[in-house]
């Protein structure tokens, strides 16, 4: 048998669900103390998430997409990037975004129906949340192309879900990253579900990592509930990008512990037993156990931080709740740099109507 090609996809896992190392830790991440800030970030995100859901339940927020269970993946991705890199998220990677400077209040503004959330405090070149599934992947590829053409040492990192891996845009991004050998990382965050559609209904592919083979990219599958595996997977992909070796696809295996969004009710389509089982792989206790065993973390620290992060989040929530609705002119003022006269006339009419409504 003559072979035209053959491929292997590596799987990375360092910490098992019980928080014990299953293999030698990667060189770069052996210092447990160095992981503590990331663990704190994971706790912070979880606190934020719970409070955001509560806000929605009490009518103070629109539809909200929870990140419960994704903390190791999101934080690990965020920790692997520099400010100069470009991040193109989908709509729930707050953990990564907070590390880049986006404020919780901005997340809330966005889901609270206010465009100003997208004008966030993170890197000005980062992409906002992206609702049309996986379209952001191609924007990241375009950004990576800009970096390459300008000779900049920057990486474009984008995320989509297991559902998003079916989207043609994801393939287009992967293929163009391969064609142009771009500094591009496609993170496929496989949380098992795309709303009600389970991972196995999306594709006949045995892994989602292998989507990258179609574009000749480096492919990796990673335990997305193991922060160390996430960091190591990202480290390798970033190194490849920096070395001019081109793009990577990383599949992060995690689980969506919440409903798809607050507008969804997962009990309609998902077995409670599966969710229960998934909780046994929760990334937070796993890392806590590991850090505690390594002497880098303890219960007192955790309690203190939980309390502090609740306060920090509350500050953000209050800032959000105090936000005034944009004036009606806001829907006209950011459409064109140079708005045409007819649009200005409509703007004037809208102002006049406001006057009437209020006067």
């Amino acid at each position: 048998m003559t072979l035209a090609a053959q491929f292997q996809i590596e799987y990375l896992q360092y910490l098992g669900p019980d928080g014990k190392a299953v293999t030698e830790l990667p060189q770069a991440f052996r210092d447990a103390a160095a992981l503590v800030p990331l663990f704190k970030q994971m706790l912070y995100v979880r606190t934020f998430d719970a409070k955001a859901i509560a806000l929605q339940r009490t009518g103070k927020l629109g539809t909200y997409a929870s990140c419960l269970g994704h903390e190791a993946t999101h934080v690990g991705i965020g920790a692997s990037m520099t400010p100069e890199d470009v991040f193109a998220p989908s709509y729930r990677e707050y953990g990564a975004q907070f590390m880049r400077g986006v404020k919780p209040r901005e997340v809330l503004m966005y889901w609270g129906g206010d465009e100003r959330g997208n004008d966030f405090s993170g890197p000005k070149h980062d992409y906002p949340w992206c609702v049309p599934i996986a379209t952001q992947c191609l924007h990241a590829a375009g950004a990576a192309l800009a970096f390459k053409l300008r000779g900049e040492k920057r990486v474009a990192v984008t995320c989509c879900g297991d559902g998003g891996s079916s989207k043609t845009d994801t393939y287009a991004a992967i293929n163009s990253a391969g064609a142009y050998k771009l500094p591009f990382i496609q993170c496929i965050i496989n949380n098992g579900w795309a709303i009600s559609v389970p991972r196995n209904s999306q594709t006949g592919a045995q892994t989602l990592a292998q989507k990258g083979i179609a574009g000749g990219l480096h492919c990796l599958q990673v335990d997305g509930n193991d922060l160390i595996a996430v960091l190591e997977g990202m480290r390798r992909a970033v190194a490849r990008a920096h070395n001019g070796e081109g793009g990577s696809v990383i599949e992060f295996m995690t689980y969506r512990l919440h409903d798809h969004t607050t507008a969804d009710d997962a009990r309609r389509y998902r077995d409670e037993a599966e969710v229960k089982d998934a909780w046994t792989r929760d990334p937070i206790p796993r890392l806590r156990t590991y850090l505690t065993a390594a002497g880098a973390w303890n219960e007192a620290q955790e309690n203190a931080w939980i309390e502090e992060s609740a306060k920090l989040v509350d500050v953000e929530i209050n800032a959000y709740l105090e936000l005034k609705v944009q004036p009606v002119t806001a829907m006209f003022d950011f459409l064109y740099a140079d708005p045409p006269p007819d649009l200005l006339a409509q703007r004037a009419a809208a102002i006049a109507l406001e006057g009437k409504a209020h006067g």
Binding site: G112, G113, E115, S166, Q202, D264, D342
Partner: protein, 329 residues
């Protein structure tokens, strides 16, 4: 039948789907989350349980896939009813709809056809996230070979959807999601389709014609009520099928009233209201005693939900336009 319970517009959609799936075994439903979950709006709730996973198919998460598979199914003897989860996700389907669905009959001189329906939850006003509130019917209204339908009541949703599924050509069926659950009416499950090429005159009037479709029908009827209090008699027309347009009904009304205000949710410029105004300018000019007016979404994107109601046409805006029209004698 008279004992049928009153149902909402979304329930009427489900009822029509179920009716036609029972009547015609080539009818099948496909889309994201339409199976066990019954669709994010519950339009297909219970259908998979009733008709099985062979008739109600969840698709991979890709609209190009949905559109292309639908064209493939329709051209091989099936009658697929595809769902776009929201209006804002219809764009990746446009290529297959325009280049293929709308052209198979034409291209092959009738050898291959494309009897399909694309259901699109449409329009704003439900406090949804970005891209969930678009009134983008004009993407399709200039396309030969398509029918574009937009019901505005449970009964019309039922009858028009049945007609759409039975039609031998592709139909874009846009559903005003703001009124999915606005009110209920009794809709006998009698399999009676409504015609796909007529406008519905919902209220007779003599002073002015309000022409609209979709969710704005309600605002127009309310505006007509308000105008009546001021002694102004407004005729209200629900266009319902935008393409092909039944202009005759509109022209007849305007020949009587002499005034026309067109109301729609999409941005004004090159929205479908322009076509109706254009036909008036061509064919009814000498009937008009007042300039035509359009009350529409502004020429900007519908904003996120905090401002969206200020974007949409309102009863006040319609009444004001009507009064401007009536000021012309």
């Amino acid at each position: 039948m008279a004992d049928a319970p009153a149902i909402t517009l979304i329930e009427a959609i489900t009822q029509a789907l179920a009716y036609e799936m029972r009547a015609d075994e080539t009818v099948l439903v496909l889309g994201e989350d339409v199976g066990v979950n019954g669709g994010v709006f519950r339009a297909t709730a219970g259908l998979q349980a009733t008709f099985g996973a062979q008739r109600v198919l969840d698709t991979p998460l890709d609209e190009t896939t949905i559109a292309g598979l639908t064209v493939g199914l329709a051209s091989q003897g099936m009658k697929p009813v595809a769902e776009a989860q929201f209006d804002g996700f219809v764009y990746p389907m446009v290529d297959h709809i325009i280049c293929h669905a709308a052209r198979f009959r034409y291209r092959t001189r009738g050898r291959l056809t494309c009897p399909m329906v694309l259901r699109v939850p449409w329009g704003g006003g439900i406090r949804a996230p970005e891209h969930h509130s678009e009134a983008n019917e004009s993407i399709f209204t200039n396309v030969p070979g398509l029918r574009v339908v937009l019901p505005s009541s449970p009964a019309r949703a039922y009858g028009l959807l049945l007609a759409a599924i039975r039609d031998p050509d592709p139909v874009i069926f846009m559903e005003p999601k703001r009124i999915y659950r606005q009110y209920k009416e009794v809709v006998p499950d009698d399999g009676e389709a409504l015609p796909l090429d007529v406008c519905f005159v919902l209220r007779d009037g003599t002073d002015l014609t309000l022409v609209t479709w979709g969710a704005q029908v309600k605002e127009c009827l309310e505006a007509a009520d308000a105008l009546a209090k001021d002694g102004i008699s407004a005729e209200v027309i629900d266009v319902a099928t935008l393409r092909p347009l039944d202009f005759a009904t509109i022209a007849e009304s305007v020949s009587k009233t002499g005034r026309c205000v067109i109301v729609h949710e999409a941005p004004k410029t090159a929205g479908f209201g322009a076509e109706i105004a254009a036909r008036l300018a061509e064919e009814s000019m000498f009937d008009l005693v007042a300039p035509v007016e359009r009350v529409t979404g502004y020429d900007t994107h519908i904003p996120l939900f905090r401002l969206e109601m200020k974007y949409l046409p309102s009863v006040d805006k319609i009444v004001a336009a009507a009064k401007r029209a009536v000021a012309h004698a």
